[in-house]
Symmetry: C2
Subunit: 567 residues, 2 copies
Amino acid sequence: MLNYTHNNNELTLNNLNEVVNLKGWVLKKRNLGGLIFIDLRDKSGITQLVVKPESPLYELASSLKNEYVIEVSGTVVERESKNLNIKTGEIEVVLSSLNILNISENPPFTLSEQENVSEEVRLKYRYLDLRKPNAQNYLMKRSQITQAIRKSLIEQSFLELETPYLVKSTPEGAKEFIVPSRLYHGEGYSLAQSPQIFKQLYMIAGFEKYFQFARCFRDEDLRADRQLEFTQIDIESSFVDQKDILKIGEKVMADMFKEVFGKTLELPLRQMTYQEAFNSYGSDKPDLRYELKIKDFKEQLSKFDIPLFNNQEVVRGFELENNALFTRKYFDKLTEIVKKNHGSGLAYVRNETGILNGSIAKYVDETVVKPGFILFLIPGEYEDATNASGALRKELAKDLGFIDASIESLLWITDFPLLEYNKEDNRFYARHHPFTAPKDVNDLINNPKEALAKAYDMVWNGYEIGGGSIRIHEQRVQNLMFETLGFTEAQIQNKFGFFIDALKFGTPPHGGIAFGLDRIVMLATKTDNIKDVIAFPKTQSARDLMMQSPNEIDENQFKELGLKVIK
Amino acid sequence: MLNYTHNNNELTLNNLNEVVNLKGWVLKKRNLGGLIFIDLRDKSGITQLVVKPESPLYELASSLKNEYVIEVSGTVVERESKNLNIKTGEIEVVLSSLNILNISENPPFTLSEQENVSEEVRLKYRYLDLRKPNAQNYLMKRSQITQAIRKSLIEQSFLELETPYLVKSTPEGAKEFIVPSRLYHGEGYSLAQSPQIFKQLYMIAGFEKYFQFARCFRDEDLRADRQLEFTQIDIESSFVDQKDILKIGEKVMADMFKEVFGKTLELPLRQMTYQEAFNSYGSDKPDLRYELKIKDFKEQLSKFDIPLFNNQEVVRGFELENNALFTRKYFDKLTEIVKKNHGSGLAYVRNETGILNGSIAKYVDETVVKPGFILFLIPGEYEDATNASGALRKELAKDLGFIDASIESLLWITDFPLLEYNKEDNRFYARHHPFTAPKDVNDLINNPKEALAKAYDMVWNGYEIGGGSIRIHEQRVQNLMFETLGFTEAQIQNKFGFFIDALKFGTPPHGGIAFGLDRIVMLATKTDNIKDVIAFPKTQSARDLMMQSPNEIDENQFKELGLKVIK
C-alpha cells in the first residue's frame, strides 16, 4: 500500500503542483469530453480525480465502477469549473498512478441521500447504508459525544468502572432476557437491565464516584425509540445530595454542548417540579421551545350551562389563534388523540370576528374567546384531562409550526411522587424503584400518598434524556419503605436479599443519574429515528435484518442447556 | 451534608490551624490515655482524628464502631508521634463537630490485607472486600489504564463505536450463550463472543478506524484466568498492512506505560516469528525476562547409545546450574509436568564435579554437561518434545527465581501458521479464523501446510495480551480459503452468509487487533489472580457468590420463552 499523504477533504489551492497519494472509494465516475472524472470518497470527504485521454491509465480508469476501492498518486491542479460547496472544490488531482485495491458489485441502492430506499432494504445492507454521509455523521457525532461526556466526568474525578452483564434473574422481571446455564440445568442468568444495584454496591464499597457507558438489555415490545439493547451513561456518587447530582449532570451536558457543537448551555438549568410540569404542560417531559400553557377553565365557564361539562371535576385546555388547518377532519384527528390519551372528549369554540362556532358555541357567549382565536377544552378528572391536554398541546405545536428548531430547551423536572397507589390491588408501588429516598421521611410514615421523592429527570426538547435519584442509605428508612410497599420479610429476602445485607455495613449517603446515550445522540443530530444513531439496530419486531437474527436454535443446543422447545 | 474541604490524603503541616470538613469511614478507633483516636478513611487515604476527654463529642465518639460513616469538622494540629509512612502522618484533626451519617454492623472480616479470608467469603461480601486498599488500587488502576489506552487511540484518530451484544447464533458455536427469544419461540440470539464480524463491517462501511472497549461472552469451562464475560480493547483499521497495526498496538501500550506508570517502553517492540518462539522457548508466548533457550541435543548425543533416545525424532532440552532444589521428589514433579505437556518423558544428567548421575548418566561421559551443571532432556517428536521443554523451562524459571520482576518483557510474535491440519478428520482448520489473510496467497494454493498468516500476538511477561490479523478483503482469496477448508457452498452460506455478501461491495484492505483488558490490568498491577482486577467476578464454577447467580428460573418464565426444562 502507498503512504497516503492526505485525506480526501484536505487539498486546496495551497497544495498546487504537489504530488499526493490518496485512497478511497469511487463515489462517481463521469466521462466529459474524453476526460474521466472520478469523485474519490473516504471518511473525511471527497476529492476529484482526473484522467486525460492520452494517459496510460485511461483504460484502467475507464474500467472503474462505483464503490471500487482504489489508491492513486497524482498532481494537484486548479479546476476549471469550481465547486465552492466543498473544501476541495477548487482543485483536482491529475493521476499518474492508479491501483485497484478491490472491486465492487453494483450496490442494491445508490449512496445518495436522495434515493428513497425502504428501511428494510437499508437495514439488510446496513454496511452500505452506513457509507452515506448522513449515517457517517450520526456515528461520528456519537463517538464525539461519547468522548466529550467521558472527558467531563473524568475532569469531575469520576472513575470509569465496569459491572457484569450476566446477573441474577428476579422472578418478577418480566422484561428481562434469560440466559440459561449450561452447567446448571434449570438455572440461568439474566442480562442486566441496568447497572443500578452494582453502582450502589460501588458506593457501598467506597469508590465514591463511578461512571460507565453501560449496555442495558430489556426485552420490551419495541416502540419507535426503544431497542432490545441500549447504552446508558451511568453515574453515581457518594456524600452528595440532590443539588450535587444536578450540578454534575448539567455540567456533563454543558461540556458536551461546548465540546461537540461549540454552543454554550446556560447553567444552572431551569428546575420545574413535577406538579408544575404536569399542571401547565400535561407532561413530565414538557417541550418548552413553545409556551401554550394548559389552564383551568371551569371557574370561568361556570356561569354557562354546558351539558358536556356538568359534574366534571375540571375543564382544562388553552386558547390559540385560529388557523386555516382547523377543518372538521382535523378536529376529528385531534379528538382521536385526546381519547387515546385518556381524555373523555374534546370541546372547542371559535370566535370568527364575533360569530361563535364549534361544539359548545351555542352554550356560551363571545366573552369566552377573543376574536380570531379558538378555545380547546377537555373536561374530566384532573389527571386524565390534563394528560390529554398535554398530548393535544404537543400535536398542535407540531402541526402549527410552533417549534423553533434553533432553540435547545433543557430543564430538570424534580419532586416526583415517591409512590403510586394502585386501586386494583389496593397497595402502593414505588414510582421509580424502592431504593429511591423520600424527600421527607415523615411523609412516608404519615402521608405516603403525597410523599415526594428525591428523584429528578433531565428533559431535552420534550424527551426525557436522563433520570435518577438520591438513594435510601439507612436501613431504618429502607425498612419503612418496604413496609409501606407491603412486602413481607420473605419477599424482601427473595427480591433484594444480598443487597439488603450490603446496606448494613456502613453505606454512605449516595445518589446518581443515568442518561440515555442513544437519545442524546438522536437529539444532538436532529434526527427523529433512534435507529439512525445505532450502527446495527434491530427492527421494531426485534429482528436484525442484516444478520437474520434471532434464528432457529438447534434442538441439540437447547438440549445441552437442559431445555426443549414446547410445540 | 457538609461542604467537604479536603480528601483524607491531603492534609499536611501546611494546613496547621485550618478548620477542615472531612468525611469517610471509621477504619479504626483507639482509646489511648483517655484520648480517642479515629482513622478516617475515604477512597483517597487516611486522616487521624482526635477527640479529647473534655470534648462534648467524647460520648458520641466513644460510640463509633468500625465502618461507621461520619462527617466531621475540626482543626489541624501537629501530631506528637508522627507516622511518616503516610502523607497525612504529621498532623491530626481535633474535632469540633461529628455527625454519624450511617452505622455499620460488625463486618464478617476486618479490612486489613493481612487477615486470611477464604475467597468464598471475600466474594460473598465483595462490596466489603473491595474496601481494602489493594482492591481499591486494582480498580483505580483499571480505570486509569482504560483512560490511557482510550486517549492513545483517540489521538491516533480512532472512532469509538459500539457493536451489538445480541447477535446471530451459529450452529457450531459450542461456547456461545443462547438468549431465547420471547417473540419467536424456538429461536434465539447469541451473546457476542467478540465484535469480530462487526468491526470488519465497520471497515466495509467506510469508518476506517474503529475501537471499542467491548464485553465478550464465552461459555467456557472456567480456568483460573478466564471469566464468562471479559473486556476486550477491540481495534480495526482500513488501508493498513501488518506493520501499521503493530505500530498502532505498541503505541497504545507505550502510551499506557507512560501515562499510568511513568515508564518508557522502548519502541519498536522486538518481533519474533512463531517458529523461533516455539523452537527456542517451546511456547507462542515466551517469557523473555529470562533466557534459558531450548536447544537440540540429538546431534551432540548421537555418539552415545542411549536406549531412551533411539528412534526419536529429536532430543530437546537445556543445561542449567545445579541446584539444591533438585531432589528425587522434585524430579518427579518435573516429569509430571513434562508428561502433562505431551512430552514422552524427562531424562537428565548432572555433573557433580566430575561424577555424573541422573537417569542417563551411565550412557554418556562428562563432555555432555559442564561441572556443576545439569542437563534436562526430552526425547520425542519435535512438536511434543519442544512443547514439553517449554513447560519445563517455565516451571524451572519460577522455582529457581530466574524471573526479574522489575523487568517488563513485551514483544510481538508474528508469522503464525495459517492453517492446522487435523489428521483425524483429514482436513484443514483455520488456526485463527477463516478471514485471516495469508502472507502469500500462492502458499495457500500450493503449500497450505506451510502457509503463514498475517497474524500476530503481543506477549507480556509470558502472557498473550493481544492478538490480531490482517483480514482477507478479496472475494477471490476468501473463496480459495473456503475451498482449502473444504467448505461447501451451503456451509458457507449457513455460517457466514450475509458477511460474504458484504465482502462483495468494495471492501477495503483492513486488519486489527484485540487486547485483553483484564489481563493487561492484572499484569500492570502485578497480581496473578484475574478476579482481583474484576469488580464483581464469577468463580471457576461460573457462580456469582454475592448475587447467588445463576439461580433457578421459574417454570413460567421458561414457558413464556416457549421452553421447558428436561427432567
